[in-house]
Symmetry: C2
């Protein structure tokens, strides 16, 4: 089979691929990230590229995504185009995935970071127990005598018991093999690695001498968009380093639904998605180890948290039934495995725990967030909101927990918005209209390439406050303005003129974009309202609203309230918690009690399936208004009173 | 490197080996079994072969083992001879290992073999619980609905819980992978394989449809000399078939001590021994499956019992410290492993349990024997005696258990006896002297090749009863007899004349042979006596003496008492229990309660280390007499009263 060279501009990366390889695959192979929302189905038009040299074979169905000029200039969809020649391919700015602002985590609860294993335990707060999932215990054992001739492994277990209070141990065979010489050649001074597995501790490794300082774990947030790994020193609890990267699965689809579709289609879809995330994590861990000077063999445990679909793909489990009524996943609670079982490279005996899910659309990331925010451990009622493509909401206290998820659509992540984009370089993230003058700020102060979620919220807020749109989101066409135009068949408003933008085209918000954002914010608010109503409470009875996730940190709270995304409560009660999923995973890594707690939390959370919960639809319809059809719910919002 | 052909006579098997290969290795490769007691050290002289064609290179140190005639006829020790030419090698009868009478097992306790899992459980007798280590449970699950949308694996666990009473389950990752489609493609009708692991049940396999009939286990007695495997249908408890073979490790040494020495010497001794027993077991299982028409993938569990050294070699554990004071093994309780971890070929998720040991010289075979005979479950005090190279004795009841082991030497297995041999074809196993006429019976009624343990006991008994020897075992040289001769420097007694034997030489018992047997029987009796004294009891207070092992079944009880091997009690109290190790292993395979019981039994047994127990030496010296120096201990023995 013949092969061709494909060079990607502006990166300059070149790759050789077989004839008829899809261009998007070639880009992946070259390490060039091309946008895709639909998973390569030719349905989203986000992977537009320009063929600047050479011939290609393109699916003509994709032609509807292009203007005449684009067709003339050799534009094509990377996912619908096959390589049949040596090529030079230009990735236009709007199709590129640039470095994103990846959220690490930020403490909201005081989680103890004791310097020693012998830290006092606070019985009233199980999360304060510092007992990592995997521990290295240094032992100086007495040599056997006729009076004390218990077996080698019993001697080790007795030694561990003297240092810790655990009772039940088991040992792997390969750890027993060679144990005899290891003990005798090292004068009975060895370090045992013990790993909690259910109710017992497994002895997984015996090292000569004292290696108890060389024990590390990794906490991982397996996000749909980004994957973040934190390297933690398990003897002290210290975070040694953190690395994040785009989820390589984005090549196969932007959101969980398109990835499920991809993995359940013909071919090895599941394998490709599974291997992508494994590749992601291996490279994060490798980088962390290299930059921090840590031996990868000294990593003995991993705790990962992700939504239900991500957890399934991560572990190689078939996710197909997650998106089909009645939304049944393969598992909610996942087995502890050897990291090597899914080819994650750490110590060969290193284990991997995946935080348990609640339901098909309320995953381990939310459970980890509930753990991290301590919601399930205090008597006050609190809410955790995590808004991405799905809005997930958990509510409760140490007595009860309910949760739900609503499909918010991709608007908050730049999807479904004609000039929408993720919060990466060149995305407009702030907009203000003062005295009829529009000002914006783009990420990295680069030439605007599009508008991201927080920019859209600002935009809608400024439009409605300035009466550019009405409370239903329709443009007020009676006011003439140089920015207000009618593009194609619907009106729009120019945010940045062609001479200001990187693409050289006007950056315009259309009426349908506003409509999409209103649907998204309506879905999230209706979900929160439904959950609060379901338990018979009012917003004022909620002690704290935690806002988690990448979206949270860049959100302007008053504006989010003013468009009706968040309830109209004291902004002081709203707290950004950053990457609470990662924080929860780290807590579970550092405290096996906290890990056990995640399973309890997952089991105590009652999921309200909104798609079959009748009041939700009414709430949703009532929320498709700025800020809401029921004025009394938003007393502080004043723009509509004029 | 050049290679040569070696043909073994009389088998006619031919093999090609590299130059300088040891002849004993060539024999092993050809599948020809040559005797060896010392592990190829050139120290026992048991591997004599005759080079009938071709040249060899022999170690001249071995020359002391040969008569002039043998040297002239090309005799050499197979372990001290290297192949440097194409050869024809004759294995003389006395050097051959022939098919032995391998003991299967024979019920002594009524162990329930219920036809169904739903059998009534008898709370008073934990051993009667029929709950195999691995079970296949057929499930017809309801398809999920909106009201019943638990995860796939929770649905399976709920289904299993409805059928059984177990609470805790875990599942392997690879069983979760693909589960989704397996359930949906088979209309929610599947069979789950569950395996007990400690306090939880592991779901290890999901098969489409009802496969609950296709579930087998293997019980294995890993003996020093022979290995026996029993194929058991786990749904009904029925024994489907049984196969035994010589332990291939015999190539490297006949007894446990020489195998420990071999495995702890230079080179890959441990590997070779470990792989030998694995090869043994794989071929037994393969034969059983082929002859019984069972799919090897349907074998889901194995329980093996062996002495401490054999268990270590079987699992690939370093046995060196077992023979060094203070006699500390790597482990007494062994982890459950996947059979595949040591390359045993059954179902890839099939597990292997090894019965726990008590001490370095009281192993899992004795624990299994105690389980099988029910000693530890009834109030009456009983004794189990297992005599091979070591004599192991366990004594007790449901309240306490003590045990010990004494090195009996190899006399009972034909070792240390000039014309001794194992109980194989041509071994004299019965001797009677009536009216001065000696009659013998050989195994298979073949021409005599040597004398085995039971023959030696008969021999000593007949000698002392007929005053051919005195009570110290010295020949009474004053009585002249055609059979009584003085060979070399010591007297002897011809059992079979040269014209009757296969070797064409006289088969003679020497005074030193008698002396060896007296030392062996003395050690065993002294051990029994020490144990009974240790707990402050008399022989008459013992309810039953179980005699186990290959030796047991061919033993003439009155004669064994008369020479002072067994205590002088009512012969009715002495019961042969056959291969109680295999029977115990099968019970543990069929009842996880019985398996748990073996761990409890091993822990409740107090080992009396005779080598440091002072009264034992006195008992031993007192026992070096026929039947014993203390007449009152053997009131029924009358030959010395004349």
């Amino acid at each position: 089979m013949s092969s061709y060279k494909v060079k990607f501009i502006p990166d300059g990366k070149e790759v050789e691929v077989a004839a008829n390889t899809k261009l998007i695959e070639a880009a992946k192979k070259a390490g060039v990230y091309v946008n895709s929302l639909c998973g390569g189905q030719g349905a989203c038009g986000k992977c537009k590229v320009q063929i600047t040299r050479g011939k290609v074979e393109s699916d003509t169905h994709a032609i509807g995504f292009f203007s005449k000029e684009e067709i003339k200039n050799g534009y094509a969809l990377a996912c619908q185009t096959e390589v049949i020649d040596d090529l030079e391919v230009f990735i236009p700015p709007e199709s590129r995935i640039e470095e994103e602002q990846i959220l690490i985590d930020e403490s909201v609860v005081d989680y103890s970071k004791p310097e020693k294993l012998s830290v006092a335990r606070v019985a009233s707060d199980p999360l304060s127990f510092f007992e990592p999932l995997s521990q290295k215990i240094y032992l100086e054992l007495p040599a056997p005598t006729s009076e004390d001739n218990i077996s080698d492994i019993d001697r080790i277990i007795r030694g561990v018991r003297k240092k810790l209070r655990y009772q039940s141990f088991e040992i792997s065979l390969h750890c027993l093999q060679g144990l005899s010489a290891k003990l005798r050649n090292n004068n009975w001074k060895i370090t045992a690695t013990i790993v909690k597995h259910g109710d017992i501790w497994r002895i997984t490794q015996i090292e000569p001498g004292d290696t108890s300082d060389n024990n590390y774990g990794v906490a991982i947030d397996v996000g749909t968009t980004t994957i973040v790994a934190q390297l933690v020193h398990l003897k002290t609890g210290k975070v040694i380093g953190v690395e994040g990267s785009h989820n390589l699965q984005a090549h196969y689809g932007e959101d969980v639904i398109s990835r499920i579709v991809f993995s359940c289609g013909r071919g090895k879809g599941l394998n490709a998605l599974h291997e992508s995330v494994v590749e992601n994590i291996n490279s994060l861990i490798k980088n962390l180890c290299e930059t921090k000077g840590v031996d990868i063999e000294d990593i003995t445990s991993i705790v990962a948290a992700g939504n239900t679909t991500m957890s399934h793909l991560f572990l190689g489990l078939v996710p197909c039934s997650i998106r089909l009524d009645p939304y049944v996943p393969t598992a909610h609670v996942f087995p502890q495995i050897l990291a090597g079982e899914i080819n994650i490279n750490i110590n060969p005996d290193g284990v991997l725990e995946t935080i348990a899910d609640v339901a098909s659309y309320v995953g381990g990331d939310i459970v980890a967030g509930v753990l991290a925010t301590g919601i399930a451990d205090k008597p006050e009622t609190k809410i955790l909101i995590d808004v991405g493509t799905n809005g997930e909401i958990a509510m409760g206290n140490n007595d009860w927990m309910v949760c739900c998820s609503a499909s918010a659509g991709p608007a908050f992540e730049g999807g479904g918005i004609s000039c929408g984009m993720r919060a990466t370089l060149g995305a407009i993230e702030r907009i203000e209209i003062i005295n009829d003058k529009l000002k914006y700020k783009s990420i990295g102060r680069a030439k605007p390439r599009g508008i991201c979620g927080s920019g859209m919220i600002d935009c809608v807020y400024e439009f409605v406050r300035n009466k550019i749109i009405d409370q239903q989101g329709h443009f007020n066409l009676s006011t003439k303005h140089e920015r207000l135009i009618e593009t194609d068949d619907e009106p729009g408003y120019i945010i940045a003129f062609s001479n200001e933008t990187e693409t050289g085209k006007d950056l315009t918000i259309k009426e349908s974009d506003i409509s999409n954002l209103i649907r998204s914010k309506g879905a999230v608010f209706a979900a929160i309202k439904s959950l609060v109503d379901y338990v018979g409470m009012g917003f004022d009875e909620v002690d704290t609203f935690f806002v988690a996730g990448g979206f949270g940190n860049y959100l302007n709270i008053p504006k989010a309230i003013a468009i009706g995304l968040l309830p109209d409560i004291d902004p002081e009660k709203i707290k950004f918690v950053g990457n609470s999923s990662l924080m929860g995973a780290r807590m579970a890594l550092l405290s096996s009690h906290a890990f056990d707690r995640t399973v309890e939390i997952a089991k105590m959370m009652t999921n309200i399936e909104l798609s079959t919960y009748l009041p939700f639809m009414d709430e949703y319809v009532a929320s498709l208004f700025l800020p809401h059809t029921e004025k009394r719910l938003f007393p502080s919002v004043d723009y509509w009173q004029e």
